[in-house]
Structure formats: C-alpha cells, structure tokens
C-alpha cells in the first residue's frame, strides 16, 4: 500500500470485500457465460472448441425465437402499463394517514411477500379446470355455463398470467411510489389549493413531475423484470397453448435443459444481457435528463 494515503487505504479496505464478492459471484460467472457462448459445451467430457458464430446463429434461427421476442415485448408493454397505473392508483388511495390506511397498505403489499413461483403455483391451482375452484365458483354463481379454460387460449393464458403478476407486484410498486409521494412537501399542495388549483391540476402540475424519479425507478424495475419473465409462464402455461406464451428466457431454459445445447443457451443469454444493458442505459439517460430539467 506504499504511496497510498491513509484515507485511500481505508477506502480500499472498505471496498475490497464488495469487490471480491462482485468478482466471484458476478464477473467470473459472466465471463464463463461469455466463453460458453463462443464454444461447444458438452455436458461431461468432450472437446470444448470454438463454435462461433454458430451458437449465435443457431439461437436466432430457432422458429420460436422471433415469436418469443414479440411475445416478450407485448407482455412487457401490457404488464408495465397496467402495473404502473394500478400501483399509482393504490399509492394515491393510501397516501394520506387516514384511519385504516395502514391496514390497506399492508393488504396491498402482502402478495409481494410471496415468492413468484409459489404465487404461480397458487394461481395454477385456482385456474385449473380439473381441480381448481375458480371455474366451479363462476359456474355456481351463474356467470358461466361451462367450465372456464383460463389458460386454454393464447389470449386467456396471457391475460391470466398478467392478472397474477399484477396481483403479485402492484403492492410492491405501490410502496416505491408511496415513498416518492411522501417526499413531496405538503406546503406545495397547500399553496396550490390556496391558488385555487383543482385536484386534476395539482396531480398534473405537482404530483406527477415530483414523482418522476420514483416512476422512473418503477418503470426500470418493471421493464427489466418483464423482459426476464420466466417462472410465471413456466409454471402456468409452459409456453402454451400452442407455443403462444414462450418468453425469451424460456427459450434459454429450453436450449440449456431440454436440448442440452449449453453454448446456444449462453449465446441467447448474452443477447438478452446486451439488450437489457442498452435499454437500461437509455432509461438512465432519460432519468438523468428528467432530474436535470
């Protein structure tokens, strides 16, 4: 450590554990995936020679690749719009410290405490026309005549999955937005009311602009999470019916564990990583610009 000031040495000592963790658990696996994406990667013994660009061309040549990309984007748009809108509505509803506000904040957040795989299994059971109660309840209420096939058509499978995801995450995103809402000074609202501003004007001119950083963070998490969607579709639909709900991450899983093509799976992973990096960079840029303005 010769030549370093005591302050710099102390800083290095603080940073080293994190640097080691990041290197071991993030950088090294990432490098390994990058190497896999360029090579043949048999399960046990065998030649691990270069297999580039075949791994990448095989990944994009799959008949499922472009439909999966289109479906993942469609799912991301729907989930992001619905989730963001609902989370904002819930946050506004429990913003004030009214009686029972705490109770409702807890109720809205509770699904967020459940693991996504567990929640998916729960909904799979509810949706099942063979063993689930939802369909028979609707029949008994006279709302439907025949058992409902919640996951039986491409549209119903997509919407049923979106419903699960919104139920699971709306409360979590509500919490982020609630923190943002509570950071807005009350004086601003009072001054606006004194000036005779309507509720809509206050929302548009004060709440939305000052909530922008929280909305941007929610958007970032929501878009990234949706582009990486896997558990819910793997458990609820397995990509069906008729391959209509195959996501990009499901393709990675399929290449790696169904077809045992680890090199192609790694190539797909690198493509997804690159897209996510680009998207996040754009979102951060937008966020910074918003902050500066």
């Amino acid at each position: 450590m010769q030549g370093l000031s005591p302050r710099a040495t102390r800083g290095l000592a603080y940073a080293t554990p994190t640097a080691v963790l990041v290197t071991v658990f993030f950088l090294l696996p990432l490098l390994l995936v990058a190497q896999m994406s360029l090579s043949d990667w048999p399960l046990l013994a065998g030649d691990r020679g270069l297999n580039t660009p075949e791994n990448y061309t095989d990944a994009t040549d799959s008949t499922l690749f472009w439909p999966a990309v289109r479906f993942t984007l469609l799912y991301t748009v729907i989930v992001t719009v619905v989730l963001l809108g609902l989370a904002l509505l819930l946050a506004l509803l429990v913003q004030e410290s009214r009686p029972a506000a705490g109770f409702f904040r807890t109720v809205y957040f509770l699904p967020g405490a459940l693991g996504l795989a567990s929640a998916s299994l729960l909904f799979w059971g509810l949706y099942s026309p063979t063993t689930g109660p939802l369909s028979s309840v609707l029949e008994r209420l006279g709302l439907v005549d025949d058992p409902v096939s919640f996951l039986g058509t491409p549209t119903s499978a997509l919407l049923s999955t979106v419903f699960l995801v919104v139920w699971k995450f709306a409360g979590f995103y509500m919490l982020i937005l609630l923190v943002g809402l509570q950071r807005i000074p009350h004086e601003l609202y009072e001054a606006a009311r004194m000036d005779g501003a309507s509720r809509a004007q206050i929302f548009r001119r004060i709440t939305l602009p000052l909530l922008r950083p929280s909305i941007a963070l929610t958007l970032l998490l929501c878009v990234t999470g949706s582009l990486l969607a896997f558990d819910q579709f793997f458990i609820l639909t397995k990509g069906g019916p008729d391959n209509s709900t195959v996501t990009v991450v499901q393709l990675i899983y399929r290449e790696a564990f169904q077809r045992l093509n680890l090199g192609t799976a790694a190539a797909l992973s690198i493509i997804v990583l690159a897209v996510l990096l680009l998207l996040n960079a754009l979102q951060f840029r937008g966020l910074r610009r918003a902050d500066e303005s």
């Binding site: 190497q35 063993t131 169904q258």
Partner: protein, 438 residues
C-alpha cells in the same frame, strides 16, 4: 518502456486493466482445461455379479411419476443391507433439467433412474457408466425386459437395467358400464368399440364423461396414442429414430377418433389444458367411462372403484402398449460403483421382484417372473404382464426435445390434429422428423 511514465491515475488504470486481463486469461485457461471427463469410477471395479455391501451411503434420484415403486425398493433394500440408499424424488417435469445441470457440474448422484425414452440421450452423452460385464454376469440377464436393455445399449455397450415398468393400458369403470347397459366384461377391442362405449357412458350425464386424455401433454400423447398405431401394425419412427411417420393413414384415423370426442364433448373438462400434471387424477374420481392410463397407477386406485383393465386397441382391432417406466444406471462420476451395483443386482433378483414389485401390483422387470403369486391373484395384472410382449419402447436420441418438450414439434402436431387445423398434420410431421434428425 514509455508506458510506465504516464501520470499516476492513468498508470493505476493500466495496472487494473492488466490485472483484469490476467484474471480473465487464467479463467479461460482454467475453464479450457476442465474437460478431462469422468474418471470412470462407475464402470471399473469388481465385476462380481452381486457387487459390494460394506455400509456405503449411496445417493439416488428418481422422478415423481415412479416414486412409489422406487421408494418401495429402496425401503426394502435399506432394511436388509449394510449399504444405505438415500433417495431424492425430483418433479417429473424438472427431471431432465436437473440431470442436465448436475451432469454439467459433475454432480450426479451414484444412481439415477430415468424415463426410459431419455436414456439414449444420456448414454450417448456419457452420463452412465458401462455395465456390460456386470449385466451379462447376472444369471437372469436374458430375462430382463429387453425393451429397456435395448434403449440403454449404445455402441454395443449396456448402461442401464430396468427399474420400473410402466405400461399404457385402458382402464374402464365397470359401475358406469353397468349403468350404461354395457357388458362390464367386454372392454373395447378396437378404437371403434372404444368410441361407441365412451359415447354410451357419456350419455349418462350428471357429470359423467366418456373418456379423458392429456391434450396439452406431449408425453401423454406418445404414451397413449402410439399404441393404437402400433396395434394396427404401423410404425411411428424409423429404426434409427431419426424420422417420423406420424402422418400415416392409421395415425390420422387415431387422431380422428380423439378429434370426434373433443367435437362432441365426450371428453371430461380440462383435456385441452391438461399439461400432464393431473391427467391420472381424473379417472380415480369415478366419473370417466374408459381412458388410457399408466399401469403403475393400478395399485393406487381407490379400493371401492370397480375397474377393469384392457389393452389399447388399434382402429380396427389388435393391441399394443408403450413399455415405458424408468431404467436405472450408475452415473459415470460415481465413486461407489460396486456398492451401487449391489443395489441394482438385488433390485432385479427374485425376492425383490416378487415381494416388492409384484406385491405392489406393478409389472415385474423380468419376463421369467411374469407369472407369480401376486399376478395370478389379480387377472388385471395378468393382462398387463402379458402385454409386455406386444409393446414397444421407441428409440430416438432426440426423443425429449421432440416429444416431451412442451414447446417441441410433436405437441404442435397433436394439438393441430385434435383441436386445431387437422390438415397441418403432414407439415407438422416434417417438423417432428427435422427435430429428430437435428
């Protein structure tokens, strides 16, 4: 040497970059040298037909679909041997993924059972140890279920033995047959009779349905539809397992029967969505007339359910079955091959096969034991045991990715043929062949 004279900040950055490069290079080298393969622990060692029983602890995986049979064998072995087998049951749908991941990290258990149709893929990938000499040394080697032995033979070496045999057979509800004025002792002998009897039971109404099948489950399709094609003397794959003939006239006749049941609502609700997770749970409720089922579920049926068993027929007669179930081998990376073989050899001997497997109403893994005290007491078991000779176990290296993968081409063919555009079957069959030859 000019590069060392830069300002301190730049120098530090360069040192950091050099360290990162070195780290990356060493990583690549380390990864590149890691392909020494297995040390072959599994195949070597003593070739004693009984293996070694010295108190070793063995790890074993099996899939949930055949859990009761594996558990019964392990329990009986642990109670009578020094060695102890620790059994892990893996969800059926996750089994391939778990084996693939474990193989990649050389973390396979000592013993692992596999759906017999995946075995060719595993043997060709080097996941199992060579058991040729050990199997040949068994006094009953020629009596082992040859469909499983054949599936586990790769380049003239034998890698697996049969573990549990699971045959597809028709189960029919005799109570519902009586109510529908059908003869409960006359199950369908052709697909046409199956159709007529299912429709007759379906007419009872009140929540009773004619039949059921897993309409969103590729594995269920091969297990229960293909026997109807084989029963007519037709093939579904070429001998090498690299091309499909699932667009034959017989195959289309079979699809037409299922399509008719869907069209006329003869099928219990949920068939279209059934991914295979709950398809065997419908018949035991007593509301379905006749449907193909795995023979391993016979021992699990409710005691008060009066059911009959019959072979799966072809369109105009004949009979066949899919000889499925699990084959088991010693993993190529096991360090306890002699002990693991002790379990396998014991599991195939007379006592285990009769007192454990047959007593559980399951199909024995040896043809010389097909007739035993348990099967003779239950005529349904006789029907099932006799079917082994008429059954098939298809062989294809790419079986899993073609037929069991929920996003694979066979499920597309199945669903087009029964729920969708039936005219796409020829084109879908080409996609199946392309996947097999991939």
């Amino acid at each position: 040497m000019g590069s060392t004279t830069g300002p301190p900040g730049r120098r530090r950055r360069r040192v950091t970059a050099a360290v990162a490069l070195l780290a990356a290079a060493s990583l690549f080298t380390a990864c590149g040298s890691g392909d020494d393969g297995s040390d072959g622990g599994g195949g070597g060692g003593a070739k004693d037909a009984k293996g070694t029983d010295d108190g070793a602890t063995l790890t074993m995986w099996t899939r949930a679909a055949t859990r009761p049979q594996s558990e019964a064998l392990v329990k009986a072995y642990n109670a009578s041997h020094e060695n102890k087998v620790e059994l892990t049951v893996v969800p059926t749908d996750d089994y391939q993924a778990k084996v693939g991941a474990a193989a990649g990290s050389k973390d396979l258990p000592d013993l692992f059972a596999s759906d017999v149709v995946f075995v060719p893929n595993y043997t060709s990938s080097g996941l199992f140890a060579d058991l040729t000499e050990r199997i040949d040394a068994l006094p009953f080697a020629d009596d082992l279920a040859q469909s499983h032995i054949k599936a586990g033979t790769y380049e003239d070496k034998k890698y697996v033995v049969p573990h549990t045999l699971d045959l597809s057979v028709l189960f029919y509800n005799k109570d519902l047959y009586r109510k529908a004025k059908l003869d409960p002792e006359k199950p369908p002998a052709s697909l046409a009779e199956w159709d007529a009897q299912a429709r007759a039971v379906d007419k009872l109404g009140g929540g009773v349905d004619g039949t059921f099948f897993g309409g969103n489950c590729g594995g269920c399709g091969v297990f229960t539809w293909w026997p109807s094609i084989w029963a007519a003397g037709d093939e579904v794959l070429n001998e090498e397992g690299t091309a499909a003939t699932l667009d034959s006239a017989t195959a289309k006749q079979v699809y037409a029967a299922y399509r008719g049941w869907v069209r006329d609502d003869i099928v219990a609700p949920g068939a279209r969505d059934e991914t295979g997770t709950t398809w065997t749970g419908v018949f035991p409720k007593g509301k379905v007339g006749v449907m193909p089922m795995p023979s391993t579920t016979l021992g699990l049926m409710p005691k008060d359910l009066d059911l009959g068993v019959a072979p799966i027929p072809g369109p105009d007669g004949g009979k066949s079955t899919f000889v499925g179930g699990d084959a088991i081998g010693i993993s190529a990376t096991s360090k306890s091959a002699d002990q693991a073989w002790n379990f396998l050899a014991w599991s195939l001997d007379d006592k285990a096969q009769i007192d454990v497997v047959a007593a559980h109403k399951d199909v024995v893994a040896r043809t010389d034991l097909a007739s035993n005290k348990h099967s003779e007491a239950d005529p349904r078991l006789v029907t099932i045991n006799q079917l082994v000779a008429d059954g098939r176990t298809p062989y294809a290296l790419k079986f899993g990715q073609t037929f069991n993968d929920p996003n694979g081409p066979w499920l597309t063919l199945m669903r087009d043929a029964v729920f969708g555009d039936g005219s796409k079957v020829d084109k879908d069959n080409e996609a199946v062949s392309a996947s097999l030859a991939d």
